[in-house]
């Protein structure tokens, strides 16, 4: 099987590999996929003032295309607001990496990972608002 150059580049020089403290209030963590399916992605965002993603990290268990999709996703979302990051579509990732049809699910997983990380971040802050509201009553 021959991989596209962009996939190989991300695979050999993955951007933003690592972990952020998942207990930190400013961090959102998304864990998607399943070991039994051969793909698991963990994508984390650190959100600063004004809802801007200051940092993003990933770890992926999966094929080269899955690693490349998640690496690219972290690259793209850094510096974006969480609302902008949420707009990223799997088709954009697949197109950028020229993924073949059998690897499209890797880009879907990367989109899911971004959304899951954002949802986790929002969940933490919804709770805060709720608690705040309760405390004020």
């Amino acid at each position: 099987m021959a991989y596209n150059d962009k996939v190989i580049d991300h695979y050999e020089n993955p951007r933003n590999v690592g972990s952020l403290d998942k207990g930190d209030e400013s961090v959102g963590t998304g864990l998607v996929g399943a070991p039994a399916c051969g793909d698991v992605m963990k994508l984390q965002i650190k959100v600063g003032d004004g809802g801007v993603i200051e940092d993003a990290k990933f770890k992926t268990f999966g094929c080269g295309s899955a690693i490349a999709s998640s690496s690219l996703a972290t690259e793209w979302i850094k510096g974006k607001s969480i609302d902008e990051a949420e707009e990223i579509k799997n088709t954009q990732i697949a197109e950028h990496l020229s993924l073949p049809p059998v690897k499209i699910h890797c880009s879907v997983l990367a989109e899911d990972a971004i959304k899951a990380a954002i949802a986790d971040y929002r969940g933490k802050h919804d709770d805060e608002q709720d608690q705040g509201a309760v405390a004020a009553e």
Binding site: Y11, A36, G38, V40, F61
Partner: protein
């Protein structure tokens, strides 16, 4: 491509996929060459010496194939390869005896061409029993005995598994089949020339053999068909009645001669070669285990052909590992299935966890591998498995003490 290391030249990538195919041995190529040049006759031509001398060579080669499995040359027919041999044995026996018997017994971990032949027979109305295997990859002999009925015509169980290298108990299976009066076919594409085989001691009635798995040419194989008690087959390929009517078509003389020479070399070299391959395989397995934690050997640790080492590198996905270790020509499972995203059906039949099945790599050590190559392979694996684990969320979770089975994964 060469890479100087340890003072020796290593050609990269290092070929460690000897279950997929083997390079033609130079002695084999040399034996074949005259039959591409001056000895070009048709072995079936009876009216001149061009035919006679080629026929003699083809028969001599048939004798070598027979000798390595303890058979009579008259019981060996040439085919295009083990896939055809398996098709001919299974469909040929089933169809010949179908008026009285309509049942076949085989195993879940057989090669695709055996399983697919059986599926076609099912479509034609035959019953097929697919025996399960234990977690070590071996069948249960009592289950086999129980599966055989008075409607069973054939039992088909392979010798050495192509994906995991385990050796099924052929002699015991042969004994049961003989007692029960059913024919015993065995796919020995991965076994011939690697482990000692004797069709009489093992009560084998049909045996499939491949040329290119034993350092012979591609496009040639053989099927052993017992004469006493006689096994009858319905031919798949009809024509001029060559090969005792079981396989028509002009014999590819250069390939036949090559396969014969490959069997001769394998027979003569087997004692020394199996010892050397065992040493190299042990070195690889030990080297990997010493340097990389959490590596699991798939298949029985003892009842196996040493030159096939199927290892699961936990928490590292197989395809990404293959991409990383591009200096090693290895495969994840069999070449036939590596294009699909499904984990190996053989590992699943062993009950290997699906996540581990996604992390397995098959190392196939052969005649031309060297110790320096094995050292290089160990270094390469240690580097890349370590790097990929640093990138693996599963590895991270396990290091933090998380039980992966406790997580609710989103299956996709």
């Amino acid at each position: 491509m060469t890479n100087k290391r340890n003072g020796s030249n290593i050609t990269l990538p290092i070929y460690l996929d000897n279950q997929a195919t083997t390079p033609v041995d130079p002695r084999v190529l040399e034996a074949m060459m005259p039959f591409f040049k001056e000895k070009f006759g048709n072995p079936h031509s009876r009216s001149h010496s061009y035919g006679w001398e080629v026929e003699e060579a083809v028969e001599e080669a048939r004798g070598e194939i027979a000798t390595i499995i303890g058979a009579n040359p008259k019981e060996v027919i040439y085919t295009s390869g083990a896939t055809e041999s398996n098709n001919l044995a299974i469909k040929g026996v089933a169809n010949f005896y179908k008026d009285r018997k309509n049942h076949i017994v085989t195993v879940l971990t057989e090669h695709k061409c055996v399983l697919d032949s059986c599926r076609h027979l099912q479509q034609d109305g035959f019953d097929v029993t697919y025996l399960p295997v234990a977690p070590n990859g071996l069948i249960d002999l009592e289950q086999l005995r129980d599966a055989i009925t008075d409607k069973t015509s054939l039992v088909s169980v392979m010798g050495v598994n192509n994906e995991i290298g385990v050796i099924q108990p052929l002699a015991e299976i042969g004994k049961i089949c003989r007692e029960k009066g059913v024919f015993f076919h065995t796919d020995c594409a991965q076994a011939v020339g690697k482990i000692p085989l004797d069709v009489n001691e093992m009560n084998i009635d049909l045996m499939s053999i491949s040329g290119h798995k034993i350092y012979g040419p591609m496009g040639i194989g053989a099927l052993y068909v017992r004469r006493r008690p006689r096994v009858r087959l319905q031919a798949l390929i009809n024509g001029g009645g060559q090969e005792r009517g079981m396989r028509s078509g002009t014999l590819p003389a250069p390939l036949c001669v090559g396969m014969g020479e490959a069997c001769r070399v394998a027979r003569e070299d087997m004692p020394a070669e199996s010892e050397r391959i065992r040493m190299l395989a042990q070195k690889l397995h030990k080297g990997v285990n010493d340097r990389i934690p959490d590596v699991i050997l798939n298949g029985d640790p003892e009842k196996r052909y040493a030159g096939n080492l199927n290892l699961s590198f936990s928490y590292v996905e197989g395809e990404s590992l293959l991409m990383a270790i591009k200096d090693l020509a290895v495969s994840s499972g069999s070449a036939c299935t590596s294009a699909s995203l499904e984990p190996s059906y053989v590992l699943r039949a062993l009950g290997v966890d699906e996540e581990l099945a996604h992390t397995s790599i098959r190392f196939g050590i052969g005649r031309f591998n060297t110790e320096a190559e094995i050292d290089y392979a160990i270094d390469t694996l240690a580097d890349h498995v370590g790097r990929l684990r640093e990138m693996s969320p599963l590895w991270e979770m396990v290091q933090e003490g998380v039980d992966l089975k406790s997580i609710e994964w989103t299956e996709h």
